[in-house]
Each structure stands twice: as C-alpha cells, then as structure tokens.
Symmetry: C2
Subunit: 221 residues, 2 copies
Amino acid sequence: MPYTYQRKRMPYAVNTMPRPRSLTQDRLAAAALAVIDREGLAGLSMRAVAVELGISTMALYRYVQDRGELEALVVELVLGSVDSTPPPAATGTWQARITLLVDRLRATVGAHPDVLPLTFTHRHRSPSVLRWGETVLGVLTEAGLGPEERIVALRALLAYVIGAIQQEHLGALSGAGTAAIARLPAADFPHLTEAARGAPSLTPDREFHGGLALLLAGLDR
Amino acid sequence: MPYTYQRKRMPYAVNTMPRPRSLTQDRLAAAALAVIDREGLAGLSMRAVAVELGISTMALYRYVQDRGELEALVVELVLGSVDSTPPPAATGTWQARITLLVDRLRATVGAHPDVLPLTFTHRHRSPSVLRWGETVLGVLTEAGLGPEERIVALRALLAYVIGAIQQEHLGALSGAGTAAIARLPAADFPHLTEAARGAPSLTPDREFHGGLALLLAGLDR
DNA sequence: ACCTGAACACCGTTCAAGT
DNA sequence: ACCTGAACACCGTTCAAGT
C-alpha cells in the first residue's frame, strides 16, 4: 500500500506547516565523507556527522534508517565516481582494456583510502560496481572467453583488486612492515629477508601491475 | 633498564603477598575467540571477554595494553595454526605445491570467518604468516623465478587469497547478492544477468581454484 | 603485584515532546 | 512532517582503592 500524506489538524500557528526536508541523502553522505577524510574512519559517528551538518543527531534518522545505511551511502558516493564507459578499441589489446578498467577502480578507491574497510561490507549493493562489472564482462566476452570462464575471470580480477588495494593501503611493501621483515633472523627466513631488502625499490604501481599482468597472462592461454 | 621487583612493606596480612598471574595472553586470546565464534565480531568487547574468563574487566589490562593488542592475539591464535612445512616434492609440480600452501591458508582463515576483518589490520605482525611466506618464496625460487619476479608473485598470491577469502565469506557467488543481480534489468546488464543465472552452479571451491590457476598459469610463461 | 569498582567520555538508538 | 533533547544501554579506558 502506497504511502498517503495524512493532513492533520494543526493546534498551533499556521506558518508551522510540515516543513520540506532540509537535507538529502547525498548531503549526508558528503558530510560523512568529509568527517572520514578529516578525522579518519574512527572519527565517524552519527554525532560528528550531525555537527558537520549543523543539525541535531536525531535528525539524521529522518534520512537514514541506521548507521549502516549511512555507511552504504558513503561507499556509493566514493565508488559512484568510477568510470565504467567501455574503453575504445584503440586502447589496444583486450588485456590493455581490462587493465584500464582495473586502474580506474583502483584510482577511485585510492582517492579515499580511509573508506576502504567500509567497502568490504557494502560493495555488493553498489550500482556503480555493478556497471563496472558489466563492462568488464563485455570485454571478456569480446576476448572470446566462455560463459563460465568469464565468471571465474571477473571474480578473480575482483579478488585480486580488493586484496591488492588493501595490501597497498594497509601494508605497503615500502612501509614499516617490510623494514621489520628485513631485520628478521636471516637463518630462519633466508628468502624473506633477501626479498625484503630488494622490495623497497619495487613501486606500488609496478607491484600492482605486475600481479595483474600475471592474471591476464593466465587468461590468455 | 630492566624491571626490578620492588618489595614493599605490607600493612596487611602476610598471606596476601603478590599473587602470581592467574592468566596468560593465550587464555585471553582463546576467551576472545570463543566470544567471537559464539556471538560474532560485534559481540567482542573487553567486558564480554572478562565475563568469559570470570574476572573483572580491568584485570584484562594486566595482560594486554589495549583492545588492539587483544585483537592481534586473536589473529595470531587463528593464523598460528597454519601449516608452513614445505610440501614434499612428491606433491607434484611447483604449481601443485603452491596450491597446497594457499589451500592451507584458506582453510585456516575459513575455520573462523568472523575473525576475517581483524586479520586485515593485524596480519602483518603474524609470525605464522611470515613463515608461510618464507615457504612460498622457497618454492618459487626452486621453480626458477628471479628475485623481483618472486616478490611480485608472492604479493600477487597474497592479494588474491585475501580478496578471494573475503569475497567467499562476505559476498559468496551463491548468496543473496547474486540472486539480486539476476533480477537486474537485462537490458542494462546483459552480461551480468546472464552470468548471475549460471553462477550458482559454480562452487566456491571451483571458483577459488579457477582464479588461482589463472595466476599460476601466468607465472609459468 | 594483582585485581576490583566507580567514574568518565564516548557510542547508536528509542522515545516523548516541540513547532 | 520535521526536528529536538533527554534518556537508555552500551563502549574503551583512567584512576584510586583493596588485599
């Protein structure tokens, strides 16, 4: 049954008629993202977003059912900017086109790394990611992959991108973790210590594209 | 300067001498894991762990600096059971040996899927994962990969495993997300809807190994 | 030294009231 | 209809006190 507006008798002044909503879900999401970008994910709270908007905390619940829905809005605000238009054929091989699409997703998430943990839980409902997946599947189909092969490839690409972005922002190869590994006892960890000493020269970009190239090479045989 | 035990004058009965610690970090971790397994990650709190152990909340801070350290202990308790012994040569090709190692890691995490979000932040300090990485690097070296190639391969394998495990437990192909995708307008999402209809027949195991095989095939050329 | 309980500064959310 | 403020049931953690 559709919602019907129920006009009630007003016991108070006429100029206090039902006010129009003063906000939108978009403005909530933008305010929440501003809080996250400024104070980190730990700084996100209903109260902080309310202050950011200059309204009471409880007013947020007019626009959103609970904190989870607000988080989903933030995720969609961030992921929504991903460009899903199919790369032109002039881009080169289908591998080059997939790489371009993957790079766009990586750049989109990389623009707001603090939001990353929220995307784990809310990614699946994002229309933008669905559109992105549709475009990727299109390229894979053109490339001649079979129906099941395509699904495996899309899921593998997503798994790799998710994991790689996470490693990049939570445990970069050039970060403190690698330095700690280099200081491990070489007798117990001969390969790891040797690898850690060479790792800092490997840029995040080359690391990311190196792994992606492996996946694409595997698809090509 | 090393800590020195400072004996103080006791204004009270003699039998109330400094008590030995009644717990260990291991028991804290086990209690926290029990809470998580029973009530989910959201049920984890310092108070809940204290109740589990039958002590006061603040007693936990004798064993752990803060909640973050407790979380790290849980992660290590879970990841610590991963088997890092090098697979025997009889296992077959080096790809088969890597697959076995990756499967062990997947099984270890899969035994306590609710802990997954904690591993994102605390994985890097885990000695068990370091040992696992050392073994993987050993196999890759035997396989004839060059120094930089090995690092890229290890990081790509980790990225894939992290992302795939996450997809498996937070958005399985057979789950509600896929059903929702199947109901999208076919005109806008022709490839995705067609893929979603075929997806449920793809088991998590075949999906996981299919993607892994792509990565390993890419390494073999 | 080890453990406890009260208290503080936070949360998300319910509820009744204000216009 | 839209918004507010008090209140409730939680958090993690500090602190002073108890044995």
